[in-house]
């Protein structure tokens, strides 16, 4: 078949169906480590392996809607979760059953209770991103892109507050950055920096009930401010490797 035939007479319904799924990279911080939500596959292919939660889009359902539904099915979570589109994947052989194009979404949540398993998954659980089991399909790659995106967005958006609770201390916010970036940050400089960025956090006037577990004064409590972008941004400590 040559090009003009394709262009003139191409009818998608004449070809094997393409299925569209959404997959969700849901991140949270538990016990000082970054975790991702995974479900254990109950069926072939890749039965027994872990995978990102996801599934087919339904008739009449928009993509973000489908992503929110899939996340809700695993976590019981409805509001409270920041969710955004990540990327799409459509390599012909990425699913051995049929042609599947997957739209991935990235979600950030504060520390959450353990997920409940959906009925199509043998199990669902949070996994530390630095101790991952083998993942099904190309989900390792998708997760990698999600982590990259999350690290980038901490720099120039107030995303870090989505990992913290409703009210938080500057130290808790610093812990988010240290966990996601994997580097220690200077407490004093970080503190001053956060307060100097307009709209990043706003004071609640309250303080913690008690000092830190191992001593120290009570910390002031803040809530997320109204900034959508951080200016100036919080730049990650230099990453020479990533520049070239």
């Amino acid at each position: 078949m040559d090009e003009s035939e394709f262009l003139a007479g191409y009818d998608p319904r004449a070809y094997p169906a393409v299925a569209v799924t959404v997959d969700v990279v849901a991140l949270t911080i538990r016990g000082g480590a970054l975790h991702v939500l995974l479900v254990q596959r109950g069926e072939q292919p890749y039965a027994g392996l872990w995978a990102l939660p996801g599934g087919f889009i339904r008739p009449g359902e928009d993509l973000p809607e489908a992503a929110a539904r899939e996340l809700d099915e695993e976590t019981g979570l409805t509001g409270r979760v920041h969710i955004e589109q990540l990327a799409s994947y459509g390599a012909p052989e990425r699913d051995p059953r049929m042609r599947i194009v997957s739209i991935s979404y990235l979600a950030f949540a504060p520390d959450l209770p353990d997920p409940r398993a959906g009925s199509d998954a043998a199990d669902a659980a949070w996994h530390r991103v630095d101790r991952l089991p083998k993942l099904a399909f190309d989900h390792e790659r998708i997760l990698g892109h999600g982590l990259e995106r999350a690290r980038d967005k901490l720099e120039y958006t107030p995303l870090a507050t989505a990992f913290a609770g409703e009210r938080f201390t500057i130290s808790e916010l610093r812990a988010v950055y240290e966990t996601v970036w994997g580097v220690p940050l200077h407490a004093g400089n970080f503190h001053r920096k956060i307060l100097s960025v307009p709209g990043f956090v706003e004071s609640t006037g309250e303080t913690t009930e008690s000092g830190g577990a191992r001593g120290g004064p009570r910390a002031k409590l803040y809530r997320a401010g109204d900034a959508r972008l951080l200016h100036p941004a919080l730049l990650r400590p230099s990453r020479e490797e990533e520049i070239r």
Copy 2:
């Protein structure tokens, strides 16, 4: 139908097919103005309106491959063009014929010859992005996202060099920034800044054959360097509106 039925027995082949297309936001700079490649639709729906070039993915074809093919069909361009995934759109009613999920790609090219029309398009042409005709489907929104992405990426990647030719002067590079951002930049400060960012440009040792059209010395010629990220970044002049 309740949730457990869906989860247990959902079979995508039992539903009306979903079609997957790629759409390309191809940007170039011509005559000091940012242009996007559009094709005029020959068929319903939206016959006569302009649209982003795109089409159905083919069996066995990966997504970036499909995007490159669609672009090639309109421009005859093969290499030389930077192309990257932009976003995906899948609102149920975005195409009146059937459920179509579209993966959009963003392409940047140096000044190009006029496109040739593909046989499924009445016409294809570069349009100034500030003087657009009415666009079909949700292509105005997709283009908007593409422009946003392009403006952002100029800040922290060497993308601007993709709009310039193989060899270029600092002034030409500045013109790219001024065109895409829509703001005038200070020539002297810009010049020093570009040369101070490691790996952004490298000298060719050559100069232009003659000075500028209206006078001035010959300019040194540079080529793109090996940096993948600009550090420090070239920040856009303050955009208070976009912060909150």
